[in-house]
């Protein structure tokens, strides 16, 4: 019998912290990570000695980076491990921290995402795989191909796809840690340079550096640490899946649909219960594809729903209140943990000017090259 979070010990997010996502700088990753950890500890009103295990999501910095960072918090000898799963590295680290607590291995665990784009590697090259296009198809062209097919199938326009970046930039303008903290008009988003297909520069996420941390705890830890229960957010589901075979159907979208469905079932909720979503909008078109696959609107209706304001803060279901990968940024390792930080802040009602009113249930979604997909469901208990 396989276990899920729903039939293991309850897990709560009790503290989150961020280091601003930013363009690559000379700042060492250790400073980025320690800043996020200290912020999460302060948020949870804990000290480092309380943390019993550490999972570090990282994909582009260096091997074995955990201890060189955590040593600046004091020696405790706790288990620590790097978790690499491409763009889903942070989400995977968070999942492992949750499982560690849910299984009773630890009562307080931390997931930290930290990265600098120092070592970008190619699994295809290592595998010796070849195809007819080689490196002529970069990620932007992968998604430009998806955009063209989506426009063909749904009748959506280039302007409607660009509107994703407009909305997410508006949200990021309210986020003090966003890499692109400027609200952009449709004209600005559509302005050259056009990179591939309909995708312009501002419809592609910036890859930078940063850090994010989330502390999870058991019911027992909540009690003996005296955690403020009104600020503790329950992790209702954690699902990680990998690509199967979908024929001509897009694998990122199909995998998103499968993984989200499994996570919602695990949480015992339906798509219509969701108030807020942080999803993998590395390229604008992804948001439209994924909200449809998640069941947040009917197939082919995402562009018109977006246009109608349904995905705005204050709309029917707020998508990427943080600004998403497009505007908050995508430093790889931190991104999935940063989504947890945003959901937690929103579900606590502490998001200030970007607060989605009445947020009770949130979903975090990342896909990673490979392909893998991680979906977490968080809720006010």
């Amino acid at each position: 019998v396989s276990a899920t979070l729903a039939n293991l010990r309850p897990v709560w997010v009790i503290g989150v912290g961020l280091h601003r996502y930013q363009r690559p700088s000379p700042t060492p990753y250790t400073e980025l990570g320690v800043a996020a950890v200290r912020a999460a500890l302060a948020d949870a009103e804990l000290s480092w000695e309380h943390v019993q295990s550490a999972f570090t999501g990282s994909a582009t910095t260096a091997m074995a980076l955990s201890r060189l960072m955590y040593r600046h918090l004091g020696v405790t000898g706790i288990p620590m491990v790097q978790v690499e799963n491409a763009s889903a590295s942070g989400s995977s680290a968070f999942r492992l921290a949750c499982i560690d607590v849910a299984a009773g291995v630890s009562d307080v665990a931390i997931a930290v995402g930290v990265d600098k784009p120092l070592n970008l590697t190619s699994p295809q090259r290592a595998a010796g795989t070849e195809d007819l296009v080689g490196d002529r198809v970069l990620p932007v062209t992968h998604f430009a191909l998806l955009a063209a097919r989506y426009m063909h199938d749904s009748g959506a326009t280039a302007e409607q796809i660009a509107a994703v970046a407009v909305k997410n930039s508006r949200n990021a303008a309210l986020h003090p840690y966003a890499q692109r903290p400027k609200a952009r008009s449709l004209e600005e988003v559509l302005a050259p340079p056009q990179i591939s297909g309909v995708l312009t520069r501002l419809q592609c996420c910036p890859i930078g550096e940063g850090a994010a941390a989330a502390i999870v705890a058991s019911e027992g830890a909540l009690q003996w640490l005296g955690v403020d229960r009104s600020r503790a957010i329950r992790v209702r589901a954690s699902v990680l899946r990998s690509e199967t075979f979908y024929g001509a159907r897009n694998f990122d979208a199909a995998l998103t649909g499968e993984t989200t469905a499994e996570a919602l079932e695990e949480a015992g909720v339906t798509a219509s219960d969701i108030d807020i979503v942080e999803l993998h909008d590395a390229f604008s078109i992804e948001e439209l594809l994924y909200v449809e696959e998640m069941g947040l609107c009917k197939p082919g209706q995402a562009a018109s729903a977006l246009q109608a304001g349904e995905f705005d803060i204050g709309g029917r279901v707020a998508i990427n209140t943080s600004g998403g990968l497009l505007s908050m940024g995508h430093p790889i390792g931190p991104t999935g943990v940063g989504q947890i930080a945003e959901l937690t802040t929103q579900l606590r009602g502490e998001a200030g000017s970007r607060q989605h009113p009445g947020a009770q249930l949130g979903v975090a979604h990342m896909v990673g090259i490979g392909a893998v997909c991680a979906v977490h469901v968080l809720g006010v208990d």
Partner: protein, 149 residues
């Protein structure tokens, strides 16, 4: 004589171009690029996996014109996703002169010369052209893309 830019992927001497696929005898799955280490559907291995030649012909699933690229020699270029008649969804280059090709159109492979090797042989790769164009008004022998037809 033609030399394949990627000998593992196609037979440069075939006419029209044929792609090197693989088929699994256990589950029937056809792959391109050829997967011979283990079937990506059922895990079959060894003699169950056999190379099979696939016609470079199919239907355009999607298209993207690339305007910015860090290492491309010539810009823009167009990448096509094509569902081959044999089944696999592949990505390939669209012939630069086939800019009228749309999603849903039938396309077929044609040899494009990408360079000349040390012995004077043409190095080729398959690009895709509209099926009608290839039958009636395909690139002439002095065009940049049709020199080896």
């Amino acid at each position: 004589l033609r030399i394949a830019a990627h000998p593992r992927l196609y037979d440069a001497l075939s006419e029209p171009p044929m792609l090197n696929g693989a088929q699994c005898a256990a589950c029937g799955h056809v792959s391109f690029p050829p997967v011979l280490l283990g079937c990506e559907i059922c895990g079959a291995t060894g003699d169950e996996l056999a190379p099979t030649a696939l016609a470079a012909a199919g239907q355009v699933h999607s298209l993207a014109e690339v305007y910015v690229h860090p290492s491309a020699a010539e810009l823009p270029f167009t990448v096509a996703e094509i569902v081959l008649d044999a089944g696999p969804l592949i990505r390939a280059m669209l012939d630069p002169q086939s800019d009228s090709v749309q999603i849903g159109d039938r396309v077929v492979g044609a040899w494009q010369v990408t360079g000349i090797d040390g012995s004077g042989s043409a190095v080729v790769e398959p690009v895709f052209v509209a099926e009608m164009a290839s039958n009636t008004a395909g690139p002439s022998s002095d065009s940049p893309t049709g020199g080896q037809r």
